[in-house]
């Protein structure tokens, strides 16, 4: 797949969800004003909104985009990368919005907290993407796994006091989740109920 196709998919997904992204960023900024220096709140809040952004990719919400993507000459893993990039961008935007008030008045550790929260949010979002192609218990389990991912990231960062460790953990989880999503997408049959 060309970069042009990837950019087109990401741009189209972000465009149709622009209002949702705006509301999420506004909510995130308000939360950032209310609880600016609590790492646990930051990580879990940004991850939760990232999970919601991922669940918005569930087939059926935007049927015209779904039909185009499913009928386009793209391989499952290629499509997965492009579709995974859109909620990852949203997750980063939400985290940026959360930290926007703090960036205005920088304090010690703000940049580190941002990196920790963004990495956890992206990893949780990638895991939650796998839930979009499943139903019932499997879907709920993937959402729970996405929440557990952010808990793991927080524990490594807060109690392991290792930012590189947390980044490595999030990168590994995101990589495996994206591969799993690609495999699931290649096998997915968009059949009407």
């Amino acid at each position: 797949m060309t970069g042009r196709a990837s950019i087109a998919i990401v741009a189209a997904r972000l465009l149709v969800e622009r209002r949702m992204i705006l509301y999420a960023c506004a909510l995130s900024a308000v939360a950032g004003l209310a609880r600016p220096h609590e790492l646990a709140v930051t990580v879990f809040f940004c991850s939760a909104l990232g999970v919601v952004a991922a669940l918005l990719q569930t087939p059926g919400r935007y049927p015209d985009l779904d039909v185009c993507e499913q009928s386009a000459p793209l391989f499952g893993r290629q499509l997965a990368r492009a579709k995974g990039f859109a909620p990852a961008v949203v997750a980063v935007l939400i985290t940026l919005a959360y930290f926007a008030p703090q960036f205005a008045q920088p304090a010690d550790g703000t940049a580190a907290a941002f990196v920790i929260a963004a990495a956890a949010s992206i990893a949780s979002t990638m895991v939650a993407l796998c839930a979009t192609l499943r139903e019932g218990t499997a879907r709920a389990l993937y959402v729970a796994l996405a929440c557990a991912t952010s808990v793991g990231a927080y524990l490594i960062a807060a109690f392991g006091t290792s930012i590189p460790g947390e980044l490595a953990y999030c990168a590994l989880v995101a990589f495996l989740a994206l591969r799993q999503y690609g495999e699931a997408l290649a096998r997915f049959d968009p059949v009407p109920g």
């Binding site: 060309t2 042009r4 196709a5 950019i7 087109a8 998919i9 189209a12 049927p63 015209d64 039909v67 185009c68 993507e69 499913q70 009928s71 386009a72 000459p73 793209l74 391989f75 290649a186 049959d189 968009p190 059949v191 009407p192 109920g193």
Partner: protein, 190 residues
């Protein structure tokens, strides 16, 4: 030579199974099939377009098997869904550019092609015309239509030109509008 070859193709997952479907479509040929339910017609069209993989039997699009070469199949087959699109008039240019990017078509050429196609689809409601024009932008060799509107048959056939067409239907009268000739038998899939 066939551009679409389905042999006892069945789809089993998610509710009642669909098929078996057996048919051949030659380049430039029009084949219309009647199915007992809308779901059956939809799944058969999705299998013919390489979007859904047959659980048993075989499907070949061109010389490719959708189970292992789905991207190649999707270059050959253009798929038009039954449901009308939700694309607004103001979004059509962006929709064309989006499809052009996905199919690696030059955007200027795609825009000009889309304009020509819409002229041929004059009289067709935009909700249907946009989907058909979108599917034809990449110039597929095979056009797969899921329960197309029989009232627009002439315009759709004019827009499709000489390429092969496979359409699924639930009413025999609708299938007649899209079949190669009235004399052709229209087998009902059971």
């Amino acid at each position: 030579m066939t551009i679409l070859r389905m042999r006892e193709a069945c789809f089993h997952a998610r509710g009642a199974s669909v098929g078996p479907v057996t048919l051949d479509v030659a380049p430039g040929e029009r084949v219309a099939r009647v199915f007992p339910s809308g779901r059956g017609a939809a799944v058969a069209a999705l299998m013919a377009a390489g979007i859904v993989k047959a659980g048993s039997g075989s499907v070949l699009i061109g010389e490719y098997d959708p189970r292992v070469q789905s991207a190649h199949c999707k270059r050959i087959a253009g798929y038009v869904p039954h449901a009308p699109s939700r694309i607004a008039d103001s979004e059509f240019e962006r929709y064309v550019a989006y499809r052009a990017a996905l199919w690696s078509v030059d955007p200027m050429r795609a825009a000009a092609h889309a304009k020509l196609l819409l002229e041929r689809l004059a009289g067709v409601h935009e909700a249907f015309a946009y989907s058909i024009a979108g599917a034809l932008i990449a110039s597929p060799s095979l056009l797969v239509l899921d329960r197309p509107q029989p009232a627009y048959a002439q315009q759709i056939l004019a827009a499709a030109g000489p390429r092969a067409i496979f359409s699924t239907h639930v009413a025999a009268s609708a299938a007649e509008e899209f079949s190669a000739a009235a004399a052709d038998a229209l087998p009902v899939m059971r």
